[in-house]
């Protein structure tokens, strides 16, 4: 497309500004995790790696990371099954109430997390009596389902149904068609939805606040509890910086997936 010079300049400026807006704060956190000065005033006054070694041996952090990983893996597993079942139904069939159901599948992310949180808390404390790691998983799976559903439903819509029809015209039954045709086609959407759902769960704090029992700290809850304690500030800084660095991994993976997709 041809663009006038001012339009081009404008777009370049916005891109530059946008990326600065995105990356300056994150870079500061990483730099601060090596900052010798515990008040973390800017600019840093000295370099140290001692906060990193302190954080690596911190019991609270380790415990929270393990719990977050268990929750995120289980919630994602539930979401992958339920989300793709629903996506298949909504995308492949038209039936009475289909629109209402698609709207229903937006609600858990469209309604504020605090509403979901206190609603689930109310039900859990009344019917189960106490909050456990299980209640965290149920809470997380509720919005993870939506994430997987969106990814897989979008893939189904794009694929159309001609390939499956061809497979069945050639004599394959539904199960074989799913195994040999449908599943390979939606696999990367499942991986993408699963990754996103894992990341959202690992990161969730609002619903978790209301569904986690006492002492059941997930990593975000641990960070939040220690955020306002000045003597914990160096550890919080390191955990934050580590999370930024770790978050590059899923991006790399999703990059590979999209390249694989465009290659095939």
């Amino acid at each position: 497309m041809r663009l006038s010079l001012p339009a081009r300049l404008f777009l370049w400026t916005v891109m530059g500004f946008g990326f600065a807006f995105i990356y300056v704060p994150l870079t500061l956190v990483v730099i601060n995790s090596f900052n010798k000065n515990t008040s973390f005033a800017w600019p840093p006054t000295g370099f140290t790696t001692s906060w990193w070694s302190k954080a690596a041996t911190n019991e609270g952090v380790r415990d929270a990371i393990t719990r977050s990983a268990i929750v995120a893996l289980t919630a994602t597993a539930i979401a992958l099954v339920l989300g793709s079942l629903a996506a298949a139904a909504i995308a492949r069939y038209s039936f009475f109430g289909r629109d209402a159901i698609s709207l229903l599948f937006v609600l858990p992310i469209a309604l504020p997390g605090i509403v979901t949180g206190i609603a689930l808390n109310n039900v859990f404390t009344n019917f189960l009596g106490e909050l456990t790691i299980f209640t965290i998983i149920v809470g997380h799976a509720t919005f993870c389902i939506v994430v997987v559903f969106n990814n897989v439903a979008a893939r189904y819509r794009r694929l159309g149904s001609s390939l499956e029809e061809a497979s069945m015209d050639l004599g394959a039954n539904r199960l074989t068609t799913f195994r040999l045709v449908t599943f390979p086609l939606i696999r990367s959407a499942l991986v993408a939805g699963g990754l996103l759902s894992f990341a959202l769960s690992f990161d969730e704090i609002i619903v978790t606040t209301f569904t986690a029992g006492a002492g059941q700290n997930t990593l975000p809850i641990w960070i939040f509890q220690n955020l306002f304690r000045p003597n914990q500030a160096p550890i919080v800084n390191v955990v934050a910086a580590a999370l930024i660095l770790v978050s590059i991994l899923p991006i790399y993976l999703s990059q590979r997936l999209t390249q694989e997709k465009s290659a095939s």
């Binding site: 609600l107 309604l111 039954n173």
Partner: protein, 288 residues
């Protein structure tokens, strides 16, 4: 095996049975567990509370709603919350539309995946880390912003509504960029070429062609930015100083007076339902 075979055959013949099998579990989860919990919560809002034990007493009352709607303070919090959510959505759109356009249309196809990855990075970075990053940015007297503008004679605005708006914009920006990027990518080149062939300048092409076609994608992004901003209370606690939003009111009342918290929580839900209802026709829900 005989029974399995019968089931398989009846599933093959009966479309309804097939749909029901697919939907049974997901619907059970979302309708019974999720909608059920929401319904239970909102029923609580018409119940009383034992003021000594903070326990819910199942007696009908409209007092919670009367309190919410007659007290000027709650009206002000609602307006403030709406204002913040609208500001965040608008700022996100203003930054995201040109960025998405640049990435989808101007950048060379080979660099597109890299640019997209760069935008998605903060989406994967932790929510709290991002808010925390802005806390170090906005910190009065020793923060980065203060260091940046002090030589110019200014000082950091500190914690408050402005910091909350910037923080929330930062958090939800990728949610706005991604759907718009997807929408812009689908835009046929021929339309843009036709527009400039017919003599339209860049601005005219943008407002008459690009904006109307990508509108559903923009609205789809706004669902996230708007809703996520409206329910937030943690960013407000970290960046807001004494500034409060609806989420904070719900959070403060939740353990002491659940019926009242439920009544307050109904405000963002109603606003969101009205919003979702009003945009259903734009096709935004298919762009999520």
């Amino acid at each position: 095996m005989a029974t399995l075979d019968t089931i398989r055959r009846s599933l093959h013949r009966n479309v309804r049975a097939r749909i029901a099998t697919l939907l049974a579990l997901p619907l059970f989860w979302l309708v019974v567990l999720y909608i059920g919990s929401l319904a239970a919560l909102f029923i609580t809002s018409i119940w009383k509370i034992d003021t000594f034990t903070s326990k819910v007493v199942r007696e009908f009352t409209l007092q919670n709603f009367i309190d919410v709607f007659t007290d000027k303070a709650y009206f002000n919090v609602t307006i403030r919350t709406l204002f913040v959510a609208i500001c965040v959505t608008l700022i996100c759109a203003v930054i995201a539309i040109p960025m998405a356009f640049f990435m989808a249309r101007i950048a060379r196809p080979r660099s597109r995946p890299v640019l997209i990855a760069l935008v998605i990075t903060p989406l994967w970075a932790s929510y709290l880390v991002k808010v925390y990053a802005w806390r170090t940015m906005f910190y009065p007297e020793k923060g980065f912003i203060n260091w940046l503008i002090e030589p110019l004679g200014g000082s950091s605005p500190g914690f408050g509504m402005f910091a909350v708006i910037i923080g929330l914009t930062y958090l939800w920006l990728p949610y706005m960029v991604l759907p718009i990027y997807a929408g812009m990518e689908k835009l046929p080149n021929s339309l843009l070429d036709a527009s400039s062939d017919l003599g339209a300048k860049s601005g005219r092409t943008f407002f008459s062609i690009i904006l109307p076609i990508t509108w559903p994608a923009i609205i789809a992004g706004s669902i996230f930015t708007f809703s996520l901003s409206m329910g937030d209370y943690i960013t407000v606690q970290i960046l807001g100083g004494t500034f409060q939003m609806l989420g904070n009111v719900v959070y403060q009342n939740f353990s002491l007076n659940l019926p009242f918290a439920a009544a307050v929580a109904l405000i963002p839900v109603i606003i969101m339902m009205v919003y979702l209802g009003s945009i259903r026709k734009t096709g935004a829900l298919d762009n999520l």
